[in-house]
Amino acid sequence: MSGAFTKSMARNIFYGGSAFFIFIFLALSFDTVRALPERDHRENITPQVALGKKVWEENNCIGCHTLMGEGAYYAPELGNVYNRFGNSKEAIIGFIKSRPVEGNPGRRNMPQFNLSDEELEAVAEFLKWTSEIDDANWPPNIQG
């Protein structure tokens, strides 16, 4: 870089530019947080949904699946599984419950988590709530 452009000019661009964009980002984040209630339907986050999220986390489901496109890519997207399973919580519960302990030979397997009925209901309710978030119509189709 040429001699006319000095180190202290570069330093000022760094401090000034960073401060400016941190400020803009905070303002945008503030606006986003304010806009969210319209999109996440938080009025539907019942204690059951909250428990479902905890079950989701404490069994590390994200270690194999994506949820709204984030997570691992080993197993199907679950942000829209409620819709894929015909808008049925029972189908979700049935699937989780019926995983064989030793797995199926040769296939990718989901563990048997031995969840209680309460936990099964909760995690299904959590996935139902998740499927209703306004996520700009992602994924492209029902396959996730």
């Binding site: 330093r11 760094f14 980002f25 986003t32 806009a35 986390e57 404490e58 496109g69 396959q143």
Partner: protein
């Protein structure tokens, strides 16, 4: 080596390399599980192997950053480290806490681990990359604070250079942003939104400051180019990083429930994120071309050039291909993401840590400025084996990702289900695993290079 206390970097570097090996072994386990689904099931389910793989990566990179800081800050400050004892104590705390956490992942079901570590009190577990039990997270914060204190005290009492200052800003940002890992609301959208304040603002924000300052240090030392010139470049690069990368967070806010204006903002700003990576490449090659001396440690210079090129490819180019929202709509959460994650992490952060290790280790082992020719040639082999195999891993995953998107997300009613599409692209997963084995061989050669040619002397220029 100019200051005795720089020696504390050595155990950090050794631990980093050891954990790197374990990380790759678990990568290979998962790579096999991708094509032989029942491999090690139910003993090591995929999600467990994945946590081990990604958490080890982060932990060994942190060991690398800390080692780098302990090495370069005293030299830049022209003074001894504030407290080498504290540095050593924190080393053992971090290593034991890390090891216990990994053992926990492998020894008991994750739900049990959550229970015995009291996740109920402050639930933070079970989110990607932040799977550590809450007490481990608290431990990380304590170690980070002690480390920052030690580094800051050293910087304060000695010469203040731009390299030191930028490094310190980067490390402080790293610690502060990690605090968001404790925020885990019931509302998934808010959870996801602030999760990215840790993940994105780390790798596309403050970590780039750390990367830039380590690269600048090694270039100052190996090229002998005037510090003023190098520091000016450093400022411009990190200015561009934060100017583009902060709002660039928006490229993760397209489809998680956040407002739709992020599609435009995220696309525009993140599309400019390759600029600082490109500047880093120009910078490194420019400085090396203008070098005033032939440094005998040729392999360290090779790593530095490799970092500049591979970071641009992995983060810049592979980041760009899926960052515009109309493209990301189709590629989001696919093997394209995995392809990019691998080359970006390798090119930017793995390689910069290996650069500083390559530069510093010979001196810490009492070998003047460089290893013997024999050892350097072997390390160069490992450079090419690991780097080329990582390019192939990326290409195979990219091919798998393109097919996945085509089969599963396009084609309307004829679109295949996830599991069926996965079977159709299994060939590319086999090829990826093959490239992964070559990567492991490269890593073994790398370690072997530490044990050869110890008696011979390096050529002096």
């Amino acid at each position: 080596m100019q200051y005795q206390s720089q020696m504390v970097a050595k155990p950090y570097f050794i631990a980093a390399i050891g954990l790197f090996v374990a990380q790759i072994l678990f990568g290979l386990i998962m790579g096999l599980q991708y094509v032989m689904g029942d491999f090690l099931f139910p003993e090591i389910p995929f999600n467990v192997a994945r946590m081990v793989h990604t958490n080890l990566l982060i932990v060994w990179l942190l060991f690398g950053f800390m080692g780098a800081s302990y090495y370069l800050v005293p030299e830049e400050s022209e003074t001894e480290l504030h407290s080498p004892k504290l540095a050593l104590a924190l080393f053992w705390i971090f290593l034991v806490a890390g090891a216990l956490t990994i053992v926990g992942y492998l020894a008991v079901p994750y739900a049990t681990l959550a229970k015995i570590t009291g996740n109920d009190l402050l639930p933070t577990m079970g989110r990607e990359f932040l799977e550590q039990p809450t007490i481990t997270k608290i431990g990380i914060v304590i170690v980070a604070l002690g480390f920052l204190f030690n580094i800051a005290m050293t910087v304060l009492k000695g010469r203040k250079t731009t390299v030191n200052l930028v490094l310190l800003i980067g490390l402080t940002g790293l610690a502060v942003l990690f605090l968001f890992s404790f925020y885990n609301p019931d509302n998934l959208v808010l959870d996801k939104m602030f999760w990215w304040w840790v993940v994105h603002l780390w790798v596309e924000g403050v970590w780039e400051l750390i990367l830039g300052s380590i690269l600048a240090f090694v270039l100052i030392k190996t090229t002998g180019v005037d510090r003023e010139v190098i520091e000016k470049w450093l400022y411009v690069i990190i200015a561009m990083t934060l100017i583009t990368g902060i709002i660039g967070t928006g490229h993760h806010y397209y489809w998680i429930g956040t407002p739709e204006y992020w599609q435009l903002l995220g696309s525009v700003f993140s599309a400019m994120e390759p600029i600082p990576f490109f500047m880093m490449t120009v910078f490194a090659f420019n400085m090396i071309n203008r070098r005033r001396r032939e440094h005998p440690n040729k392999v360290a210079v090779l790593w530095a050039m490799g970092t500049a090129v591979m970071a641009f490819l992995g983060a810049g180019v592979w980041g760009f291909i899926h960052t515009l929202s109309p493209v990301n709509f189709y590629t989001h959460g696919s093997q394209i993401t995995a392809a990019h994650g691998h080359m970006a992490f390798y090119g930017a952060y793995v390689m910069i840590v290996l650069t500083i290790i390559s530069y510093a280790m010979p001196m810490m082992r009492g070998r003047a400025a460089a290893n013997s020719n024999k050892s350097q040639v072997m390390e160069m082999w490992s450079f090419w084996l690991m780097t080329v195999s990582m390019v192939f891993i990326t290409l195979f995953l990219t091919a798998a990702g393109i097919l996945q998107v085509y089969l599963q997300r396009m084609g309307g009613d004829a679109a295949l289900s996830f599991m069926v599409a996965q079977e159709k692209i299994a060939l590319f997963y086999w090829l990826r695993e093959g490239a992964g084995v070559v990567f492991l061989i490269g890593l073994i050669v790398y370690i072997a290079s530490f044990f050869v040619g110890g008696k011979e002397r390096a050529e002096t220029a």
